[in-house]
């Protein structure tokens, strides 16, 4: 047991944040999120929104792949379903924004259940292929069903409005995206404090014993697919309000790979992993671009020469983290925690 964490009630012992440093860091993070749009310029607020959208999608995928052990390479298609649902409702129906987001999530969840059906029989790489196939079918639908999706041209949106406020600039969008992201990540974290999340992990670790314990495996696998797709659908809906145009090419297969990489690099099967992974995958390319710009005065034609290098460095970083931190970036956080646990008495 960690020193200084004795609790007097079981409720306190099973809280989300059990140690004082955890509580302090969470408070710092929330305060940081609250002041971010006031302290940074529009560009960084834009990036923050992008990170938060990716955090929602990656957290969903983490529930499915990291916690339930079902690999999906079709996650981008569920984002697309959410985005198209929102765009279509905005264009043709005019329902309120929050309702549109919910509808996008629920439709994605429904289709996620159908896509998840093969998971009863196939696992691992085979399931990954099945989900890719599903995403290609959906892509075909997005291109061909022009009456609803606008075909290859896609759908353009007017700025969304919440409580009478039009979401035009990035700061306004931030105040929509950030609270939703915080709520959804908290929800995912909560899930693993009770029977639902435990059942997901049980199925991942040893499905035969899960069955003996009375866990209906197919039902829980489909539940996990539905939940992951719901998260993707909401993220896609926010994406639609953010970029205000949805086309079949908005969510390519590369986005699915991007999200899976985020989960793996961040740390599979930990909530923090999905968050850090999405942060890393979204921000590092930008930071590298910054680095290239800084080198501009030193090396002539820096942009031209170094932008391919930037991609290589990004790839090398991912490979490096996979080799040196196979448990993901969260493992670094854990190591820092362990270091300071008895600091300065033992280091």
């Amino acid at each position: 047991m960690i020193i200084g964490t004795a609790k007097e009630t079981y409720r306190a012992d099973e809280a989300l944040l059990t140690t004082r440093p955890q509580q302090v860091w969470m408070a710092v993070l929330l305060a940081g999120l609250a002041v971010l749009p006031f302290t940074f310029n529009a560009y960084w607020t834009y990036l923050a929104c992008l990170v938060l959208i990716n955090v929602i999608a990656a957290t969903g995928l983490n529930v499915l792949t990291g916690f339930t052990g079902l690999v999906s390479l079709g996650h981008a298609a569920f984002m697309a379903i959410g985005a198209y649902t929102v765009a279509w409702l905005e264009r043709d129906i005019g329902t309120p924004l929050l309702l549109n987001l919910l509808a996008g999530g629920l439709l994605a969840a429904g289709i996620g259940v159908i896509v998840g059906l093969p998971s009863l029989r196939v696992k691992g790489l085979y399931l990954a292929i099945a989900t890719i196939a599903a995403s290609f079918i959906l892509h075909f639908v997005f291109v061909e069903w022009t009456a609803v999706t606008g075909g290859s041209a896609g759908i353009s949106l007017q700025p969304g409005t919440v409580f009478g406020v039009a979401l035009v600039d990035y700061t306004q969008l931030y105040w929509l995206i950030m609270p939703i992201c915080v709520l959804m990540v908290t929800g995912a974290a909560n899930l693993f404090r009770n029977r639902i999340g435990r059942a997901f992990i049980a199925i991942r670790d040893r499905d035969i014993s899960a069955e003996v314990l009375g866990i209906p495996i197919l039902r829980y696998k489909l539940m996990s697919f539905a939940l992951a797709s719901f998260y993707a659908g909401v993220a896609g809906g926010l994406w639609a309000y953010f970029f205000r145009v949805v086309t079949p090419e908005s969510f390519p297969l590369l986005t699915s790979i991007f999200l899976l990489a985020a989960v793996i690099v961040g740390g599979m099967g930990t909530i923090l992993g999905g968050v850090i992974g999405a942060l890393f995958m979204t921000l590092v390319p930008e930071l590298l671009r910054f680095g290239v710009e800084l080198l501009g005065p030193v090396i002539p034609n820096a942009g031209l020469i170094l932008s391919p290098v930037r991609t290589i460095v990004f790839g090398a970083l991912i490979v490096g983290f996979l080799v040196f931190e196979p448990q993901g970036l969260t493992e670094i956080v854990q190591r820092i925690r362990r270091f300071f646990r008895l600091w300065p008495f033992r280091t």
Binding site: M1, Y10, R11, D13, E14, G187, A188, N190, L191, R193, N194, R195, I196, G197, R198, A199, I201, A202, D205, R206, I208, S209, A210, E211, V212, L213, G214, I215, P216, I217, M223, L227, G269
Partner: protein
């Protein structure tokens, strides 16, 4: 758990065939409510297949399995937990990455009611249910099996004997009326075996749970069982009280190849003093 009363399990004329291979041929026996029944036999006799039929992984080709008179042969494996059936596995089937506490909590899954939405919010009902579960597990199971010092350890870090004990704890969390133990003391040293024997008897006496076990350790079988059924090549060859089975020439023949009960006793004693 006072609500857990033992259930009677009756296996009636169960046959299991994989293609032309008959693994079980018309086996019948019963485990009486609140007793310890042992299923023994040489390797390959069909003991684990019998267990898999009882717990629902295999569907018998013929015959029935009844729990308190109710035919459960067609009930899905995952639905048998709710009927009060719990089992442990020969090669431990714990969730290795999880803590001891989470493993035990999973045992109660079928009796909990939190749904997905409540789970995401973890307020009100879900939080109360979890708290009550934790309190009950602490009071009734963790204390009872003397595993309070390891409750927050990941299972993978524990010794083999402790892992077996955690598996028993998880099975007890299922509020079973019948407990199927597949080789509960296999690979254990003398001290661990004696601990496990004590726990099995305590479970029977204090919880009133019916126990059916497959076991190769004849010392344990003879000491703690009320009733023994012997399988050989998929057929039942003997049944009765431990001392009756010990003196049965068919049993001696199955184990030794010669029908002399005295030889079997000598070998048992030799094994015991070697252990």
């Amino acid at each position: 758990m006072p609500e857990a009363r033992g259930a009677t399990l009756e296996v009636d004329n169960v046959t299991l065939a994989f293609g032309g291979l008959k693994v079980l041929r018309g086996v019948s026996f019963a485990a009486q409510a609140g007793s310890v029944t042992a299923l023994i036999g040489p390797n390959g006799a069909g003991k684990t297949s019998m267990f898999n039929c009882i717990s629902g992984f295999y569907r018998p080709s013929a015959g029935t399995v009844r729990l308190d008179g109710q035919d459960i042969s067609r009930v899905k494996a995952s639905s048998r937990a709710a009927l009060g059936m719990a089992r442990s596995f020969q090669n431990i089937a714990l969730f290795r990455g999880m803590t001891v506490l989470d493993n035990i909590k999973l045992g109660r899954h079928a009796h909990l009611r939190t749904n997905l939405l409540q789970g995401l919010l973890h307020l009100g009902p879900a939080a109360r249910e979890e708290e009550a579960l934790r309190a009950e597990i602490e009071r009734k199971i963790i204390d009872f099996l003397e595993i309070d010092h390891i409750r927050n350890k990941p299972v993978a870090m524990l010794s083999y004997g402790l892992q077996k004990r955690v598996e028993l704890a998880r099975a007890l969390a299922m509020q079973p009326r019948i407990l199927l133990l597949d080789e509960p003391v296999a690979g254990m040293n003398r001290e661990e075996t004696e601990d496990m024997a004590r726990f099995i008897l305590d479970v029977k006496d204090e919880w009133g749970v019916t126990i059916l076990m497959v076991e190769h350790d004849m010392g344990l079988v003879m000491d703690i069982s009320d009733h023994v059924a012997v399988l050989n090549f998929g057929a039942k060859i003997a049944e009765g009280r431990p001392e009756e089975v010990q003196n049965d020439p068919h049993v001696a023949e199955a184990y030794l190849g010669s029908g002399d009960p005295a030889a079997l006793m000598r070998r048992l004693h030799a094994e015991e003093s070697a252990a």
